[in-house]
């Protein structure tokens, strides 16, 4: 709507002025296109920004300004012009009510939409992540690759090392922000060969976590559906904050990307690298990327942490 109003006010300001009853003043000659330009700014903001709620509130502020200027205009006019102005004011009031409702809704949606477990980490609480992919290898092979827990760091971005310490026990190390490492012991608590592995961290872990992965034959008879569920009990306080950082804004996206790399490793032999994202699994963030041109020797020397 901003778009339509804005274009109309810019393209045919005189018509808009006549319809709204302010065609007698020279001030309106300047004000109408300005209001039009402002409407386009809202439109552009709403259409391009991810923060729809903020942009909707800017519309509400704009509406308030419109109502104020219409009020001034009404006070100064009489007769047909005043009647037209009252009509337009009614319409703008209606739009304002709509905008307020939309803005309130967008703000609420934004609050709901963010991953609450991560946003709310200062309070702590469980966070469950699920992801799935299809790998063009038989379930026995995909299972065997995963069951050799030492393979997990080849595709999971956060994991530095998983060391097997017993038949069902293992020691995990992950990188965390500020150069800290998080380590914990884990135990396989349930397992069906070729079908399922479930594990859980030992009791003294800083960040208690558990996971299950199912290997389900895909309908094509050649592939395996890999279904993963991970649960993290994110603590409050400073550790919780560090963990939240470590997961970033999009923990689901990160798990999806981990599974994409699992698929790459199993189907092509390694994690695929491009010039824009040359560091394989260490390229955690998709933005910002480096330009798609070969690395210089100096860049290679510095490595992914540069």
């Amino acid at each position: 709507m901003s778009l339509g109003l804005g274009v109309a006010q810019l393209a045919a300001p005189d018509t808009v002025r006549r319809i709204s009853g302010v065609d007698d003043s020279s001030t309106s000659r300047a004000v109408v296109p300005l209001v039009g330009a402002r409407e386009l700014v809202h439109a552009a903001g709403l259409l391009t920004s991810r923060r729809k709620n903020v942009w909707t509130w800017t519309r509400v502020v704009g509406d308030a300004v419109d109502l104020a200027s219409l009020g001034v205009a009404i006070a100064r006019r009489g007769g047909r012009r005043r009647r037209r102005l009252l009509g337009v004011t009614g319409a703008v009031l209606g739009i304002t009510v709509l905008d307020v409702l939309t803005a309130v809704q967008a703000t609420r949606a934004k609050e709901r939409g963010s991953v609450p477990a991560v946003r709310g980490t200062h309070k702590g609480g469980p966070m469950e992540l699920t992801a799935t992919t299809t790998v063009r290898k038989p379930p026995s092979e995909v299972y065997a690759f995963w069951r050799d827990l030492g393979n997990l760091p080849t595709f999971m971005a956060h994991l530095q090392e998983v060391r097997t310490t017993g038949d069902r026990t293992s020691h995990w190390a992950a990188t965390a922000p500020f150069g800290k490492n998080v380590e914990w012991d884990a135990e396989i608590v349930d397992e069906v060969t070729g079908e399922k592995i479930a594990w859980r961290s030992a009791r003294n872990a800083d960040v208690p976590n558990a996971g299950t992965v199912w290997f389900v034959p895909a309908p094509d008879g050649a592939s395996t559906e890999v279904h993963v569920v991970l649960t993290y009990d994110i603590p409050g306080g400073a550790v919780g904050k560090a963990v939240a950082r470590y997961f970033g804004e999009e923990p689901h996206q990160q798990l999806d990307d981990d599974l994409r790399r699992l698929k790459q490793v199993l189907e092509t032999g390694e994690v695929v690298r491009s010039d824009g994202a040359p560091w394989g699994k260490r390229a955690r963030k998709e933005f910002p990327q480096r330009p798609a041109q070969p690395l210089s020797d100096a860049e290679i020397e510095k490595g992914a942490d540069a």
Binding site: L40, T134, D257, T268, D275, A277, P291, A292, D297
Partner: protein, 391 residues
């Protein structure tokens, strides 16, 4: 090495950049002998495809000589010294899409799949020199290129065909051919092709090779229409006549049996008001396309016909004639070309003399003049149809 790079909207720049290196075991490094500027490069230069970075090496049509292979490339597949044409989509050969010969939908070759997924729902293959949405791979308008999955994509040229005869196997020839193949052409078919650029020309030639009764070219540039005419195709200049009326005239009122959109997201239009509508919507980014050719193809196609789309679209369009599509039993088929599928059979057609890819080349420039090449190609100066660059 020298390479042509993106330098912001409507700007390319030939710069010195580092030489490519092997990053994955199945990579090869190719010393480029010929490369080309493609119509879809213009969507990148114009800024309509998002996720370009200053310094990205452009170009996805190239060929050359293998000078290094990674440890994962079997010697029976590719060796140092082989002369190869490199297909633009990067395909792993091991995923479900590759198994179904849908190479441009390869599930593994795009390291930025997460970005592509947001834009397209599911990710697409990595493409050389074609934004970070398609992987952030350095392109081939350069002296050297790194070619991932070199054991899957590149086609060895073992005969003495010239570079110019085989270079377009990398993209525009298979793309035009796939446009015609998707039409499921019968000997009674009239096939109409929107766009007489290089891909459109090859779609026309392919339609004829596949047995169409008549091929009609639609464009507004007289020199492009003349090029189509010289190849034996009927032409319509949309700046001079109403396209739909003329098509009905040429087909006894039925409309073309098969329609190919070889234009894509930056179509121009004979009618100023519709063009202005699309331009404004595109300018404020409320739709990414100017889908005029597609609309016209759907509205003109005979009932029960096939509309085949090989013009590049990037995001979202509106005023799509869904009513015509549904009520008149039209089939809409499309795809980025699965080049790997077509390279060998098309090489044979070139060897047999059925298709002459060199007929679209109008300009040959050294790589260092890539900026000028883009300028004359984009602005259709000097009757420019296709530019080949020599590194």
């Amino acid at each position: 090495m020298r390479a042509n790079t993106w330098a912001g909207r409507n700007k390319v720049k030939v710069r010195d950049v580092p030489d490519p290196k092997i990053l994955n075991n199945r990579d090869a490094i190719v010393k480029i002998t010929s490369t080309a500027i493609c119509g879809s490069d213009l969507h990148l230069v114009d800024g309509y495809v998002p996720t370009m970075e200053d310094g990205d090496i452009m170009g996805h049509e190239f060929m050359g000589e293998v000078i290094e292979v990674g440890s994962g490339v079997a010697a029976d597949k590719l060796r140092v010294g082989d002369r190869v044409v490199v297909p633009f989509p990067i395909a792993c050969g091991g995923c479900g899409a590759c198994a179904a010969e849908l190479y441009s939908c390869c599930e593994n070759s795009n390291p930025n799949a997460g970005i592509a997924e947001k834009m397209f729902g599911h990710p697409v293959a990595g493409i050389f020199g074609y934004s970070h949405l398609t992987g952030g791979f350095a392109g081939g308008q350069a002296q050297y290129a790194r070619v991932p999955f070199a054991d899957v994509g590149p086609l060895k040229i073992e005969s003495d065909l010239s570079d110019e005869q085989v270079l377009f196997l990398s993209d525009i020839l298979p793309t035009g051919y796939m446009g015609a193949e998707m039409c499921d052409i019968q000997s009674t078919d009239v096939v109409s092709v929107w766009g007489a650029g290089p891909v459109g020309q090859f779609a026309m030639d392919s339609a004829r090779v596949l047995g169409a009764a008549k091929v009609i070219a639609i464009d507004k540039e007289p020199y492009r229409l003349q090029m189509a005419e010289r190849a034996g195709h009927t032409t319509i200049n949309f700046d001079e006549v109403d396209v739909r009326s003329r098509l009905l005239e040429l087909t006894g009122g039925r409309g073309p049996d098969k329609c190919i959109d070889a234009v894509g997201m930056e179509a121009s239009h004979g009618a100023a008001h519709i063009h202005a509508y699309d331009r404004i919507k595109q300018a404020v980014r409320s739709e990414t396309e100017r889908p005029h050719a597609l609309r016209q193809a759907i509205m003109s196609c005979r009932s029960g016909g096939i509309v085949s789309v090989i013009g590049v679209y990037g995001g979202f369009l509106d005023k799509f004639p869904a009513g015509a599509w549904m009520n008149r039993s039209l089939t809409l088929r499309t795809g980025q070309c699965h080049v790997q599928r077509y390279m060998k059979p098309l090489l044979q057609r070139i060897e047999r003399g059925e298709i002459d890819p060199t007929r679209v080349i109008t300009h040959r420039l050294p790589l260092d003049e890539a900026e000028r090449g883009f300028d004359i190609f984009k602005n259709k100066q000097d009757h420019c149809e296709k530019v080949v660059l020599k590194p």
